[in-house]
């Protein structure tokens, strides 16, 4: 009886039923929520007996070049199922998302870290501050365009060190 991964559609159905018009779009793995009613939908999801997502497992930011994204992994201990919600933040200069600290108290440190690494402002956060880096740190390190390397190397590894000439061996089980 492993943890059941709820499909995006199922989560979207829950979210729609609880707060109409809160789901932006959905795909098989995750459900994308709109920004404006975020805290409201999350609170409803936490309280509703059917979804019962009382436990915030993980909250982190991701940078997709054209937009930022905040990923929430929510878990129900009694029903033992886990769901992934995402919020897309198109504006890169002043990204801001509603804070869920009032819904799950465990979010305040992870939101501070997301702010520290990606610069995402969380409105309604009790004390949003840089938690890992010092206050005067220039820029947001985990953003893709944060060229911290000397000479501004393009982040991400385009080719392997020794470009392998031989064809890639297929994946097989060693006898």
């Amino acid at each position: 009886m492993a943890t059941r991964h709820i499909s995006g559609e199922q989560m979207a159905a829950w979210a729609e039923s609880l707060v109409p018009g809160s789901v932006a779009r959905t795909d098989t793995f995750a459900c994308y929520l709109k920004q404006d009613q975020l805290r409201e939908t999350m609170a409803a999801l936490r309280v509703s007996p059917e979804s019962d997502l009382v436990y915030l497992v993980n909250l982190c930011g991701v940078d997709y070049w054209d937009h930022l994204e905040v990923v929430y992994h929510l878990h129900s201990l009694v029903k033992n199922h886990i769901g992934t919600f995402k919020v897309e933040v198109p504006d890169r200069e002043k990204p801001s998302v509603q804070s869920v600290t009032s819904v799950w108290y465990g979010a305040w440190m992870q939101e501070c870290e997301a702010y520290d690494m990606f610069g995402i402002q969380f409105e309604g956060h009790p004390n949003l501050k840089r938690i890992l880096l010092w206050e005067g740190f220039p820029g947001w390190p985990l953003r893709k365009d944060f060229l911290s390397m000397p000479g501004g190397l393009q982040p991400g590894l385009n080719e392997f060190a020794g470009v392998s000439r031989r064809p890639e061996p297929p994946v097989r089980v060693v006898e």
């Binding site: 943890t3 009382v54 201990l77 465990g106 890992l132 982040p155 991400g156 392997f160 060693v174």
Partner: protein, 369 residues
């Protein structure tokens, strides 16, 4: 006549302090001995592993996971390898699954040994339990050195299995030795500390966390189980074949430092039971699925998690079919367990704050990543 007023002053239980388990700082506003406000300041050991991992291939990232929680490197490696295997859809042979279980349980034993010793040291027992913990841990470190070549940051797991096959005769014999001597050692530790009135007086009723507060601040591991919430990833979301083994989850009574301590002791006893069952049924066959170094998993994301010694250790890996992970996020149990530190320490004295920090059992490498 106005009552005697004393103004609070800020004291740094600072980065340079004998019992903050590393470079971690609590800025405590103190009124007399009582703590009025505690703000934890961290980041002194921040190496931005998540940024570095984006420039290295999937296999090159494995040594990074050793260095976050340097007291349980096996569990870290296992978490990351599970995430990548889930991403790339790679099967793991049965023998590798069993070895992974044995290794992560041995790592939990060693890490809890250290946690118990350090916690007793924080309550003031003049390093005696700490020295016993170091002595007991040596036997497990020898096994790790025998199998992976390193005592602390083993780098033993690979995507698809384990790096080397453990040496035929000596591994079995060494693990049998650990199984034979650890239960009496754990009972001895319990006799010395749990029945000791001074230890109970210092830990009972200190840093109390209700179950509701623990769940709400997303704590994991002994912190959550200490408050009476039966939640263990090995039972809830079994990986590497944990569903075959018969073991129980220890939970506490009222979520104070004492309960977390007896939960850790009980977990050590359960780990020995698991190791014994895993060792008896150790299957033969391949220990690894051959995975090319230039692995390019299909686009997508995966969140895999492991029950580390400090709690749920999750790896959220996003791949864009490139050689390196597009996003590599670690869900650090030590970092998130500190969420409720302020609620637990405010109201107590400075000495209680040290005991509470000891019971949270943080590893600053994992807190700062």
């Amino acid at each position: 006549m106005s009552p005697v007023t004393s103004e609070p002053f800020v004291i740094n239980i600072g980065p340079q302090h004998p019992s903050t388990h590393g470079v971690f700082r609590i800025k405590a506003t103190v009124d007399g001995e009582r703590i009025v406000d505690a703000e934890s300041v961290m980041g002194y050991l921040h190496r931005s592993i998540e940024k570095l991992a984006e420039e290295r291939t999937y296999t090159q990232n494995i040594p990074f996971t050793d260095r976050t929680d340097y007291l349980s490197s096996m569990a870290n490696n296992l978490g990351y390898c599970l995430a990548v295997e889930q991403l790339a859809g790679i099967g793991v042979p049965a023998r590798a699954q069993a070895i992974r279980v044995i290794m992560s349980e041995l790592q939990r034993l060693a890490s809890h040994c250290m946690a118990v010793g350090a916690f007793a040291n924080d309550t003031g027992a003049w390093q005696t339990p700490m020295m016993w913990a170091f002595r007991d841990r040596e036997k497990i470190m020898d096994i790790f050195e025998m199998c992976s070549g390193a005592r602390l940051t083993c780098n033993y797991m690979r995507i698809g299995g384990v790096a080397f096959d453990p040496p035929a005769g000596t591994f079995e014999e060494a693990v049998r030795e650990v199984i034979r001597i650890f239960p009496p050692l754990i009972d001895d530790r319990a006799d010395v500390l749990v029945e000791n009135e001074i230890f109970v007086a210092r830990t009972r009723g200190i840093g109390v966390l209700t179950a509701e507060m623990a769940i709400n601040s997303s704590l994991t591991g002994p912190m959550l189980r200490g408050s009476g919430v039966a939640w263990d990833i090995r039972k809830a979301d079994p990986y590497c074949g944990y569903e075959q083994y018969d073991f129980e989850i220890p939970i506490g009574y009222q979520g104070d430092c004492f309960d977390r301590f007896i939960v850790r002791l009980e977990e050590m006893r359960q780990s020995v039971k698991i190791i014994e069952q895993a060792l008896d049924g150790l299957p033969g066959g391949p220990y690894k699925t051959e995975v090319p170094l230039s692995l390019r998993p299909p686009a997508g994301e995966a969140y895999a998690r492991v029950e580390g010694a400090r709690g749920e250790l999750g790896y959220y890996v996003i791949s864009d079919e490139g050689p390196a992970p597009y996003r590599f996020h670690i869900r650090p149990p030590s970092f998130i367990n500190l969420t409720a530190l302020k609620e637990m320490t405010v109201g107590g004295t400075v000495a209680d704050a040290i005991v509470v920090l000891g019971s949270v059992d943080i590893i600053v490498g994992e807190v700062d990543r």
